[in-house]
Amino acid sequence: MAKMNMIQSLNSALDNAMEKDPNVISFGEDAGYFGGVFRVTAGLQEKYGLDRSFDAPINEAAITAMAIGMAAKGLRPVAEIQFADYIFPAIDQIVSELSRIRYRTAGQFTTPVVVRTPCGGGIRGGQTHSMSPEAFFTQVPGIQVIMPSNPYDAKGLLIAAIESPDPVVFFEPKRLYNGPFDGDPTKALETWAKHEKGEVPEGHYTLPIGKAEVVREGNDVTIVAYGTLVHVALAAAEREGIDAEIIDLKTLVPYDIDTIAASVNKTGRCVVSQEAPRTSGFAAELAAQIQEECFYALEAPIQRVTGWDTPYPHAHEWAYFPGPQRFINAIREVLEA
């Protein structure tokens, strides 16, 4: 075991995967020689050579299409889209092509591509470096959608994604790259050094795609979160001394309905959350499915904690970010209903 932050653990995942399988290659804007603007691919070119970790032109559609073509030839491409906000030029290649190659060819061709992309706010990134566009991709049959919340999960899930026979869009909450974040921007930065999920094996391991984790057991209310908000939800429960059960979803497609339903059937109350804008977000899908599964166990309407239906503002970033107080308000709402 080693102490790793999330950048290091993702780098370690790529390193292990590339070492194990010569078909695994990594590329993206600034992701070759320089090792990526967040350094996730640092050292890979030096270790594995120019043809296995290289720079790509600033064209997200072309990057994705190149990965599709390579995967059709049997490679396992890991394409980096520099910010999730930049993924939209690639949307046709992801939605109309990548996701459907297996289906439309009836399995004659498959394209197991991983698209990695840093997402989320809390880093003063303004509207074009803060988005959480995961819900768009959960609407697309044929791709898996993953968002880890810590270094240990990030590594195990990225290796699982690379080895998955299906294409994966892999969101990396960039506010968590260097440390957990409980939603209070006034506190000193924390690192992963003291966090148990900052303990990461140096060797190869995978975590199951589609499996959530109960990260805090409790009896009064279930909070479903993923990415940065896992830590915010934990902080909110701690601060208010609420006996909340907190689920880290990790995989959005396919999400782990069994773990969620078991918890909500136990607690009878539920808060679902996302950093993205409220309307048609992934929390809405969770709320709908939970009420289908657990209607007779529910003691109160499900509450959503989300970003606002606005672009991610720069100066008023913390007014947008769904911090602990918004969780506390929602939890009170469901507990008092």
Binding site: A61, A65, G69, M70, P77, Q93, I101, Y103, A106
Partner: protein, 409 residues
């Protein structure tokens, strides 16, 4: 001084319905005029070839000049047969569509040489990323006609399980990638595929085809940037058939420069060829394939041709271009030209040609009867309903398993 015109400009074609077809603005250089450099030439030295027109068959149907691939009579007859089969198949499928036997069809009439000659010049192992008007590749590569029809009528033997519109073929065994209805997406994918061939140290190359209208897509730029950056062993074909449904090639910027010339901006080799000349298409593809296999990168080939029929069965060209325009196309008909060439060589005659047409028509009719025995879209049997939940992922997850139950299958 250039004449100035400050008005907002929307280009228009030379003739519209009711007008006399007019192609007098098209310059047709004599066959044999274009020089053929070695395939190892520097890309910028192919600039002239992007603005000229590589032609081999002259007005007397004789093969002339440096680009003559000097094929034996046997491959020429084979090429003729694939082209005739393509046309006969298209004609029969159109009729069947009109009888309600399939939901949709797209012919390649007038463009048969573009697909057939290119496929014959490539190795059978080279991966092709076609658009929807290169069915000729399938015939040239020997795909079973019954299988093709089973796909088009979406029956129980459709190798795509009824998931794709007719003519959106896939044939992995024949190195024929899946055709997308979204235009140009396959262009940069072909480049990625070609890069992977090099990565694996294989001599296989990739080739892709789009229409001239589709060069307006961002993926065209993306493909050329990738091909140029990584020197990928790929052939990027632009089939300039003059029409993108109802919009003429000027709406894709075609009145400014040739489509082939765009490749020069990316430092790629460029050829503009007579797409209705079987020998020119063959020679250009052979040249580009040799260049790609030598590690010298991609060639952009503009095949200058004419879409002699409607865009698809959902289209009626009499609404936007003069009737009979196809008969006036200055580059003639690809089948007629190769046929006359073979007759001139003493290797073919009208009787044999008529017999070939008859034989292939009978083959197509017989094949359709066989295909129909496996069902039709209208009357079934189709692929099993539960197959709609298969191949979304390698294994269906809980959502798909439940939804299948909800559908009751």
């Amino acid at each position: 001084m250039t004449q100035t015109d400050p008005r907002f400009h929307v280009p228009a074609p030379h003739a519209r319905p009711g007008d006399t077809p007019d192609f007098s603005h098209i310059e047709v250089p004599p066959a044999g005029e274009a020089k053929r450099p070695e395939p190892t030439v520097a890309a910028h030295e192919t600039r002239d070839l992007a603005t000229g027109l590589v032609r081999v068959l002259d007005h007397n149907h004789q093969a002339v000049g440096e680009w003559d691939p000097k094929l034996d009579a046997e491959p020429l007859r084979e090429g003729l047969k694939h082209m005739v089969l393509t046309r006969v198949y298209d004609d029969r499928m159109l009729k069947l569509q009109r009888q309600g036997k399939m939901s949709f069809y797209m012919k390649s009439t007038g463009e048969e040489a573009v697909a057939v000659a290119a496929a014959m010049a490539l190795d059978k192992g080279d991966m092709v990323f076609p658009s929807y008007r290169q069915q000729g590749i399938l015939f040239a590569r020997g795909r079973d006609i019954v299988d093709m029809m089973c796909h088009c009528i979406s029956n129980s033997r459709d190798n795509l399980k009824g998931r794709q519109l007719p003519v959106h073929y896939t044939w992995a065994e024949g190195n024929f990638f899946s055709i997308s209805g979204n235009l140009t997406t396959q262009f940069p994918q072909a480049v990625g595929y070609a890069m992977a061939c090099q990565y694996k140290g294989e001599s296989q190359i990739a080739a892709s085809w789009i229409g001239e209208g589709s060069t307006a897509e961002g993926d065209f730029h993306g493909a050329l940037v990738l091909a140029s950056t990584y020197k990928a062993p790929v052939i990027l074909n632009v089939v300039n058939n003059q029409w993108a449904i109802s919009t003429f090639q000027g709406i894709a910027g075609g009145q400014a420069e040739t489509f082939a010339l765009k490749g020069q901006g990316y430092g790629l080799a460029t050829l503009r060829i007579d797409g209705n000349d079987f020998l020119a298409v063959y020679a250009a593809t052979q040249w580009a394939a040799e260049r790609a296999r030598a590690g010298l990168g991609a060639t952009v080939i503009e095949s200058y041709t004419y879409r002699a029929d409607a865009h698809s069965t959902s289209d009626d060209p009499s609404g936007y271009r003069p009737k009979g325009e196809e008969a006036k196309w200055p580059l003639g008909d690809p089948i007629e030209r190769l046929k006359q060439h073979l007759i001139g060589l003493g290797e073919w005659d009208e009787e044999r040609h008529a017999a070939l047409e008859k034989e292939l028509d009978e083959l197509v009719i017989k094949s359709y009867k066989q295909a129909e025995s496996f069902g039709t879209l209208h009357d079934g049997p189709l692929s099993p309903v539960e197959s709609i939940f298969e191949d979304v992922y390698a294994e269906p997850d809980w959502r798909l398993r439940r939804q299948r139950q909800d559908l009751g299958v």
